[in-house]
């Protein structure tokens, strides 16, 4: 891999918020495309962060700084990605479920999915099942991503899936879920289409449903 893309990955991992703009400009000057910067610099860095966080080697403040670093670079390359006319992978809505106000993980998933080429509509936190249903009607997404940090609130994911069924919309969208207490077993039990253990794998999972 090129040095500058590796440097971008490292800067994301280390949360070098202040260096991102310069590094991104350098990479563009070296004729790397915005897509390369995203796919070979930023995303692998964030992928690493997700794994380290899960293993307990990185903590929330560090993950936040990494996310912000990636964000700073994405702000610069976003217009270029749009210009290059790369078609959107698909559309997704994301939200933290009813009763849950934790949005750090959900925001990170949003950023990674945007990086993976999705048009992401973030409908916020503490989202009632009915509000998810309304959002599906409004945005007609390919995928819904639901997040919960608490065991107490993860049950609301099941209620949301039921609400989608009742509205006759369940087969129109893929439902993916994640958050600290969520597991593959739970995902299977409530009839979600997939589970991801970190933001990078959420983006991979989302892509697997539209390709």
């Amino acid at each position: 891999m090129s040095d500058i893309l590796a440097e971008l990955s490292t800067a994301v991992i280390e949360g070098n918020v202040d260096d991102m703009a310069d590094l991104t400009e350098d990479a563009l000057d070296e004729d790397f495309s915005a897509q390369d910067i995203l796919d070979k610099g930023l995303m692998p860095g964030m992928d690493h962060v997700g794994v380290e966080f899960k293993a307990g080697n990185m903590f929330v403040p560090e993950v936040l700084r990494s996310a912000r670093a990636m964000h700073n670079s994405m702000d610069l390359i976003r217009p270029l990605l749009a210009e290059s006319g790369a078609s959107m992978t698909g559309k997704m809505i994301i939200g933290t479920v009813k009763g849950d106000l934790h949005d750090i993980g959900k925001n990170l998933v949003g950023m990674m999915c945007e990086g993976a080429g999705f048009e992401v509509e973030d409908i916020g936190k503490n989202i009632e099942p009915e509000a998810f249903v309304e959002a599906v009607k409004k945005y007609e997404p390919n995928i819904i991503g639901m997040s919960a940090l608490l065991t107490t609130t993860m049950r609301s994911m099941e209620h949301t899936i039921k609400a989608l069924e009742e509205a006759g919309l369940r087969d129109k969208v893929k439902v993916i879920i994640g958050g600290a207490p969520v597991t593959q077993t739970f995902s299977d039990q409530i009839g979600a289409d997939g589970y991801a253990s970190n933001a990078a794998s959420a983006a991979e999972l989302a892509k697997s449903f539209v390709n």
Binding site: P61, D100, D103, T151, R155
Partner: protein
């Protein structure tokens, strides 16, 4: 002392329950008591293998009373091995400190954005103010403030749970200091009297397993905990 079916009792507990357990457990009830670090819950995988190690290191078949909840899956897939496990059937310690799962759920849905402080958490320095101070040292004030805002801006209430008047008096100044800092996110400060009912019941059931009801999870030898056992 042993359980009604003759097993010695071993207690493995989060340090947050140390005060309550020491006060309420009858003399000589447990063969062995281990209090594990407060902070383990923030890395559920670490909590998981620490608890598992503690269980695996118990020599003789025992009734292991675990003063934990599911704790973000920290207590998932815990294998009982040769032992019998007894665990409160709750999401985390807050229900145990408030006295029941029902009380916890009532509080939870009344104000989902609640941050709980207890004597144990205050003593361990696990609160937003201490966290902020540590972040300033590491990243400087501006970044520290940004990180704190990201983590706490959605909460709306700081709740100090105290189990008796002495604790309330003793720790109130510290809790109020945290409350003062949390005003930056418009937190309101409340004090709730905790209840020792859940812990009392845990102790009672440990000594007589036939008194178990659906507030507890029991895992026989050769079994393991699953999320399903805890969901209600």
């Amino acid at each position: 002392m042993t359980t009604s079916n003759g097993l010695p009792i071993v207690v493995i507990a989060c340090k947050v329950f140390q005060g309550l357990l020491e006060e309420l457990m009858p003399e000589g009830m447990a063969e062995q008591i281990t209090f594990l670090d407060y902070g383990l819950h923030s890395v559920p995988d670490k909590l998981n293998w620490t608890v598992q190690d503690a269980i695996d290191s118990i020599e003789n078949p025992s009734l292991v009373m675990l003063a934990y909840g599911m704790c973000g899956n920290g207590l998932k897939d815990i294998k009982s091995g040769q032992h019998t496990l007894l665990i409160p059937r709750t999401d985390d310690c807050i229900a145990i400190l408030l006295g029941s799962y029902k009380k916890y759920i009532a509080e939870f849905y009344a104000t989902p954005g609640s941050y709980y402080l207890t004597k144990g958490w205050l003593e361990s320095g696990s609160n937003p103010l201490v966290e902020y101070e540590e972040l300033i040292e590491k990243y400087g004030e501006k970044s520290a403030t940004w990180i704190m805002d990201q983590q706490y801006q959605n909460y709306e209430r700081l709740v100090f749970v105290a189990h008796n008047a002495q604790d309330l008096e003793k720790y109130r100044p510290q809790a109020q200091e945290v409350a003062e800092y949390c005003k930056r996110w418009d937190f309101r400060y409340e004090e709730i009297r905790g209840s020792d009912i859940y812990i009392r019941r845990l102790i009672e059931v440990a000594m007589a397993l036939d008194k178990k009801d659906d507030e507890f999870v029991v895992v026989p030898p050769g079994g393991k905990t699953t999320l399903d056992m805890f969901l209600r």
